[in-house]
């Protein structure tokens, strides 16, 4: 069975600094998708970044980038130039490329941004 593990329940970062959130997953599949979602206090889940497993190049979206290590089954999120608005719960998620769109989520990392 596929699992997603986020070992950091909470992280803190100074404003304008860089922080990395960790995520590991377990799967026997070769084609899948990985995601980072942000859930602010408003509860609205927002897609931050997405990575296709068949792509070796790490995905980047503005200040957000990932370090995807397929062999190690690791998918970390780096947030550069952290802003107060980045404070939220961050969930790592896995989706098998089967067209079912069913996600498996990690337990989340609460990110605090210190002014």
């Amino acid at each position: 069975a596929q699992t997603v593990t986020q070992s950091q329940p909470e992280m803190s970062v100074q404003e304008a600094e860089t922080v990395t959130l960790s995520c590991t997953y377990d799967t026997s599949e070769s084609d899948y998708y990985l995601f980072w979602y942000k859930q602010p206090p408003s509860r609205q889940m927002i897609l931050v970044i997405r990575q296709e497993a068949y792509k070796q190049q790490n995905a980047t979206e503005n200040r957000f980038s990932v370090n995807f290590q397929k062999a190690a089954k690791s998918f970390s999120l780096k947030i550069s130039d952290s802003q107060l608005g980045d404070a939220a719960m961050y969930f790592c998620a896995y989706n098998l490329d089967s067209g079912t769109y069913k996600y498996i989520f990690g337990t989340g990392t609460r990110l605090k941004v210190l002014a």
Partner: protein
């Protein structure tokens, strides 16, 4: 994109009662899902809401406890039946559009006393 609304946004219910949560999307979507997020925990998929037919439930979730309807391509309901305090959670609707983008609703915070 898709804009999702859920009603109610929150509710406090007594044990033994039932609550129906509505999910409305502003455009026709391919797939609709219901997730549960228990306090301090991650999201767990309850079921896939199928239009015009019975929902497809994940392991650990049954129709008698969580009946789901999806009468059309923009609307679905989830009922939490015979509630107990363990059902206190946030319930989120999620959709997949025709362009294969996935969105989540704002959630319904349910507290059972």
């Amino acid at each position: 994109s898709a804009v999702i609304s859920q009603k109610p946004s929150r509710d406090i219910c007594q044990r033994g009662t039932s609550l129906t949560i509505q999910c409305q999307v502003d455009s026709q979507v391919t797939m609709m899902f219901w997730y549960r997020q228990q306090p301090g925990q991650s999201l767990t998929l309850i079921a896939t809401a199928n239009q015009g037919s019975e929902a497809t439930y994940e392991s650990g979730f049954v129709i008698d406890k969580f009946p789901i309807s999806r009468p059309n391509l923009t609307f679905s309901t989830l009922t939490v039946s015979n509630m107990s305090p363990e059902d206190s959670s946030i319930y989120l609707c999620s959709v997949v559009t025709a362009s294969y983008e996935q969105y989540f609703g704002p959630g319904t915070r349910l507290t059972v006393t």
